[in-house]
């Protein structure tokens, strides 16, 4: 479909809306790789909230870090090859590397910035509690649960991102969920 690159902005918006209705992520990724701004915006709208929650496990400023991640995605999306599942794994790999770099920089400078979670979570108090519970988990458990639940990735994709085996990812997922449930039960009893 090389003609689609010469679409006007209005035609592109209509075409993107049609793609959103169909939720054809494979086609959206293909359009974004070819340089469609509307397709890229739709991908951003779909993945941005999940990515912010995922990056909240690493930093107190997930939105700033997420902006840097999307800049990297936009500058290198032309070189991407694969379907929508591969695209999800690709963008979360970029996000994880960016979070690792940021953590390394903060560790060198010793800077720790506190941020109100309502800035990126919103007024949803239940979400604040849930995120607080997930953050209490060990970093390894919390990251894998976020990737599997929030990013909606299967064990093989998560194993590829974090550099572990599928079996190890399943075990870590099980331990994390078990510990999270224990915290939920104890929290309900305490109330």
């Amino acid at each position: 479909m090389p003609e689609k690159n010469r679409f006007s902005s209005e035609q592109s918006e209509k075409h993107a809306d049609a793609l959103v209705v169909a939720l054809d992520f494979d086609q959206l990724v293909e359009e974004a790789v070819r340089g469609s701004d509307s397709a890229f915006t739709l991908l951003w709208r779909n993945f941005q909230p999940r990515m912010v929650r995922y990056l909240a496990m690493f930093t107190n400023e997930p939105e700033d870090l997420c902006s840097e991640v999307w800049i990297k995605i936009a500058t290198s999306i032309k070189s991407f090859q694969g379907d929508s599942n591969a695209f999800k794994g690709w963008i979360y790999t970029i996000a994880r590397n960016a979070a690792t770099d940021l953590a390394r920089k903060k560790q060198r400078s010793g800077i720790s910035v506190e941020l109100n979670e309502s800035d990126w979570i919103g007024e949803n108090s239940t979400m604040v509690e849930v995120m607080d519970l997930v953050k209490r988990l060990p970093q390894e458990y919390a990251e894998i649960i976020m990737l599997r639940v929030v990013a909606d990735l299967d064990a093989s994709e998560v194993a590829e991102i974090v550099g572990k085996t599928q079996g190890n990812v399943r075990v870590l997922t099980h331990r994390g969920l078990k510990q999270l449930n224990e915290m939920l039960v104890k929290g309900g009893e305490g109330r």
């Binding site: 340089g35 951003w44 909230p49 936009a74 500058t75 919103g122 997930v134 039960v185 309900g188």
Partner: protein, 293 residues
């Protein structure tokens, strides 16, 4: 709620699978929590979608960044160069080793610095001449200074001393004194005299009267006996006291009358011309005391 102690690995995978389908699970509390975590897709209202590089049509203005590094480098290099140059000049001036132009410049720089320091110190100290005079006559604080010869009202030479109220340096006048004025003082005791004693004498010799000053009656020392006897007395010009000190050691105060013992018969010696008879101070005349008469 089921017993979570029996929560197996397969049940955890089943729970995650049911999150997508929305099917109920026996671990309802955990499922609802994970469902809330997974399906909240609210974008913040201030979120701005990113733009692909191909969609950027206008050039992004580059913000000017002021860098102080070049300026700092220039200032540092100038300072270091100046320090090296001054150090090399100082070393050349002190040791005298090095290329001739550098050594010369170093010497001239050292002289200039010395002159500037001297001028500044003089300007700071103010009346340095008074300080030097006071240092010549050190006095205890609170003690009134001894009357100087110019201030001495009991001096017999008031006419001369009062006319010279201006303070005079002591040392230069003493240098002008003929040794004959202090020759009656034993050698060694002259240094013990107070400055006022010698200054008193100095004022007498400063403006000598022709008839009082014995030196004026004598010819210059270089000409005793060498002057021709037949030379006219009219040719004699009284010499200034500047040439007197050299004639002192040979003329004793007691020998002064002997000069009058040999006047020339042809001329009538005026007081000013009385020394003309002394132009021929023959040894016999000096040795002949007046008691022989």
């Amino acid at each position: 709620m089921s017993n979570f102690e029996d929560f197996s690995l397969e049940q955890s995978e089943e729970l995650i699978a049911k999150l997508k389908s929305g099917a109920p699970s026996e671990f309802e509390q955990l499922r609802s929590t994970l469902n809330l975590l997974a399906h909240v897709n609210e974008l913040p209202p201030t979120a701005i979608p990113p733009v692909l590089p191909s969609g950027i049509t206008q050039p992004v203005p580059v913000l000017p960044v002021k860098s102080t590094k070049p300026r700092r480098t220039i200032v540092t290099s100038v300072i270091v160069t100046g320090m090296l140059a001054s150090a090399s000049l100082a070393a050349a001036a002190v040791t005298g080793i090095g290329p001739a132009p550098i050594v010369n410049i170093g010497h001239q720089t050292a002289k200039f610095v010395k002159s500037v320091v001297g001028a500044v110190s003089n300007a700071v100290t103010g009346n340095s001449s008074v300080a030097s005079a006071e240092s010549a006559n050190p006095q205890l604080p609170g003690v009134t200074p001894a009357p100087t010869p110019t201030d001495n009202s009991s001096n017999t030479n008031n006419d001369q001393s009062n006319s010279e109220n201006t303070p005079l340096p002591i040392a230069p006048i003493q240098n002008l004194l003929p040794p004959a004025a202090t020759s009656h003082i034993p050698i060694g005791l002259q240094n013990l005299l107070p400055p006022a004693a010698t200054s008193h004498i100095s004022h007498e010799s400063e403006s000598p009267k022709p008839e009082d000053s014995p030196q004026a009656k004598f010819s210059p020392p270089s000409a005793p006996g060498t002057e021709s006897d037949d030379s006219g007395n009219e040719d004699f010009v009284p010499t200034l006291p500047t040439s007197l000190p050299s004639a002192g050691p040979t003329a004793l105060p007691g020998t002064e009358p002997s000069t009058e013992s040999a006047p020339t018969p042809s001329t009538e010696p005026t007081p000013a011309s009385t020394p003309t008879g002394s132009t021929e101070p023959s040894p016999s005349a000096t040795e002949a005391p007046s008691s022989d008469d």
